[in-house]
């Protein structure tokens, strides 16, 4: 599904290298987790995948189902099936959540040569998805993320994912800020979407989330590189011992 090849990235504004040779392969049907100390480059990787301005790829490449991702505009990446659940979802005053989601869904359908969704079908879809995430329908009427609590914002990200049904889902610390029950809801939402044609890259600091969303592979990122890759046990090791041992081992 997603193939990242020796990716080097630096900030456009300053001479600062952040990703320094990331290699990653996430096959369809799998869930990969990335853990790593603060500032190691996890969010940067997520942003670069989704096409945010301000980064310069100095080396390497990214392919989504064989398609060169880095050549595409952010909206083209979305239409190609990429979705990023933001670590810090953006508030957009004045744009209603419903309008936003419907516009997004229609834009993606249009980009793929499909039909626009009817108002009635859309309403049904979103009500259904919101219900399973226990999102208050009143929240859907409010402007995107404005005045949402931290946890509500994260749930709203998963709602968008559930409506847009992307192929490659990148979740950047979706668990942070969630209470225990909300985390289970979010995990259920993710698990409901798991299937053969879809892949997940889950960035997290905590093993807890991975209890609910069982990863196939766990990667440790440090200093802009994947320094260690293993099975679900690796997350447990981090949970108990921290990163010190792992970093020492690969140094």
């Amino acid at each position: 599904m997603l193939k990242i090849d020796n990716l080097h990235v630096r900030l456009e504004e300053e001479e600062k290298a952040i990703l320094r040779g990331v290699d990653l392969y996430v096959p369809a049907g799998s869930v990969h987790a990335i853990m790593g100390p603060n500032g190691s480059g996890k969010s940067t990787l997520a942003y670069v995948l989704s096409g945010r301005d301000g980064y310069e790829v100095t080396h390497g490449g990214v392919a989504l189902e064989g398609q060169d991702l880095l050549e595409l505009e952010p909206e083209e990446r979305a239409a190609a099936g990429l979705f990023l659940a933001f670590q810090y979802p953006v508030e957009i005053p004045g744009v209603g959540n419903m309008t936003f989601l419907r516009t997004a869904l229609n834009a993606q359908r249009k980009a793929c040569g499909g039909e626009e969704v009817s108002a009635a079908d859309f309403l049904k879809l979103i009500r259904d998805r919101a219900k399973s995430l226990q999102i208050d329908p009143e929240m859907l009427k409010r402007p995107v993320n404005v005045g949402f609590s931290g946890g509500e914002k994260k749930r709203n990200e998963i709602l968008q994912m559930a409506v847009l049904e992307p192929k490659m889902c990148v979740l950047d610390e979706t668990d942070s800020g969630l209470d225990v029950d909300a985390m289970r809801l979010v995990a259920d939402g993710v698990n409901a979407l798991r299937d053969e044609g879809r892949a997940f890259l889950v960035i997290t600091h905590y093993q807890r989330l991975l209890n609910h969303i069982e990863p196939d592979v766990v990667h440790i990122m440090a200093d802009g590189r994947i320094v260690k890759t293993g099975g679900p046990d690796l997350a447990l090791e981090v949970e108990t011992n921290g990163y010190a041992d792992i970093l020492q081992e690969v140094a």
């Binding site: 505009e73 909206e75 004045g94 516009t103 869904l105």
Partner: protein, 429 residues
């Protein structure tokens, strides 16, 4: 307080070719003659006049109107879907053929010339009177000129709650037309009237609207200025608000070489409400100026001014807004916001918000901001699949929403949204 006197010959040349309509009743003649005196005493604005600091008045001062190309519009006119009473002016001349029948329950509508030819009591207290009151403390010479020489227009008296809006529709067919229209409106106690305005009026358009809202009356006004990008327009709205009355005005302005919209609102009855809002979009060498003056002269009144401008590619937006709270106008609630969204570095927003308060128990706030589009929001929308231009339009509409929400009628607000969306789509890059 007059403006610094410009060369007297310019002031006289400006009105040399203008004539008052014939057959005016004595009171109307007096009103017009007094307006001429006011005009001559004030003179024309110059570049150094404080009140014209942001806007060059040259095209308005010139004796002849600078020509403006006549545009053949493909799209349906705004408000087309709304059940309304249409009153049409072609290059500033009333067109009876194209207009609806002027009789409507709850309304007395008459053409200005005939109304000012006889003695209409309410009109004597409005025509040139509200304009005259609005000449203090700042001179508005183009309004005085209008009162003096307006050759056409409509007077309306609303005596009941009228759900069907009166739609003043302007048509521009002569590239040199220099139109002066005057509207005098009386909303009687407990009556409710909505006036819509749309269409390009003339190469140069001087419009004056006086609105007298009696106790408990309500006046709604929604106007769309756009499409005729070569227009020069100077418009004035003078309103006097009685006890528990309401005045709500919204203007959409798109492009236009020069558009100066002035409003002078006096809240003279207790617990009156005045909301004035404007949404302006400019892409190119265009200039909009909203100049608003609100006078609180009664207890417990509320006033709101919400002005939003989206500018790019050389467009300039100006806002001058003043809230004057007179002695004794306690419990005044005044709110003013003027904001611009600058889509590139070539656009400019000039603002002068002012508060002058002589009462001690008031709550007044004002603010003015100027900013660029939120890149994080833009990226967020794009990452969900919205193409950048579409995402930008969404953010622009969201920015303008606070002004558009001032329109009470949902149908009319929808129309304005539709108009804006069309404009944004045509101006995508």
């Amino acid at each position: 307080m007059g403006l610094p006197v410009r060369r007297q010959e310019d002031v006289e040349a400006r009105i040399a070719h203008l004539e008052m309509p014939a057959g005016q009743a004595g009171w109307a003649l007096t009103a017009r003659t007094e307006a001429v005196s006011r005009y001559l005493a004030m003179g024309l604005p110059g570049r150094r006049d404080e009140y014209w600091r942001f806007t060059r008045p040259d095209d308005l001062n010139a004796p002849q109107a600078p020509p403006a190309a006549v545009v053949d519009f493909k799209e349906a006119p705004v408000f087309g879907e709304i059940d309304r009473l249409r009153i049409v002016f072609r290059d500033g001349v009333f067109d009876a053929e194209a207009s609806d029948d002027l009789s409507c329950e709850g309304l007395e509508i008459e053409r200005l010339q005939s109304a000012t030819a006889h003695d209409i009591h309410w009109l004597r207290d409005v025509y040139g009177v509200l304009e005259g009151r609005g000449q203090e403390p700042v001179a508005r010479p183009f309004a005085a000129l209008n009162t003096a020489f307006a050759n056409d227009g409509i007077v309306i008296r609303a005596t009941d709650r009228v759900s069907r809006p009166v739609n003043l529709t302007y048509l521009h067919e002569n590239p040199d037309s220099d139109a002066i229209l005057h509207f005098a409106i009386k909303v009687e106690s407990g009556a409710d009237l909505t006036v819509l305005e749309n269409g390009p009026a003339a190469a140069r358009f001087n419009k004056c609207m006086e609105v007298d809202v009696a106790d408990g009356g309500a006046f709604h006004h929604v106007r769309a200025q756009g499409r005729d990008h070569e227009r020069r327009a100077v418009t004035h709205m003078f309103a006097r608000l009685g006890e528990e009355s309401a005045f709500k005005s919204f203007t959409l302005t798109a492009n236009g070489v020069l558009t100066r919209n002035e409003a002078f609102i006096e809240l003279v009855g207790d617990n009156a409400v005045s909301h004035i809002a404007g949404a302006a979009v400019g892409d190119g060498d265009f200039h909009h100026d909203d100049t608003v003056f609100v006078v609180h002269d009664a207890v417990g009144c509320e006033s709101r001014q919400v002005f939003k401008k989206v500018l790019r590619n050389g467009a300039v937006g100006a806002f001058q807004g003043k809230i004057l709270v007179k002695e004794g106008a306690q419990k005044t609630d005044g709110y003013q916001i003027s904001q611009s969204l600058l889509l590139d570095e070539d656009a400019q927003f000039l603002a002068k918000p002012e508060l002058e308060i002589y009462a001690d128990d008031v709550a007044c706030s004002h603010g003015s901001t100027s900013g660029a589009i939120d890149e994080d929001a833009l990226f967020y929308l794009q990452s969900r699949g919205l193409p950048r231009p579409e995402a930008q339009d969404l953010l622009v509409l969201a920015f303008l929403a606070e002004a558009i929400e001032e329109i009470e009628s949902e149908d009319i607000a929808e129309d304005i949204y539709g108009r804006l969306k069309g404009w944004l789509q045509r101006h995508r890059r």
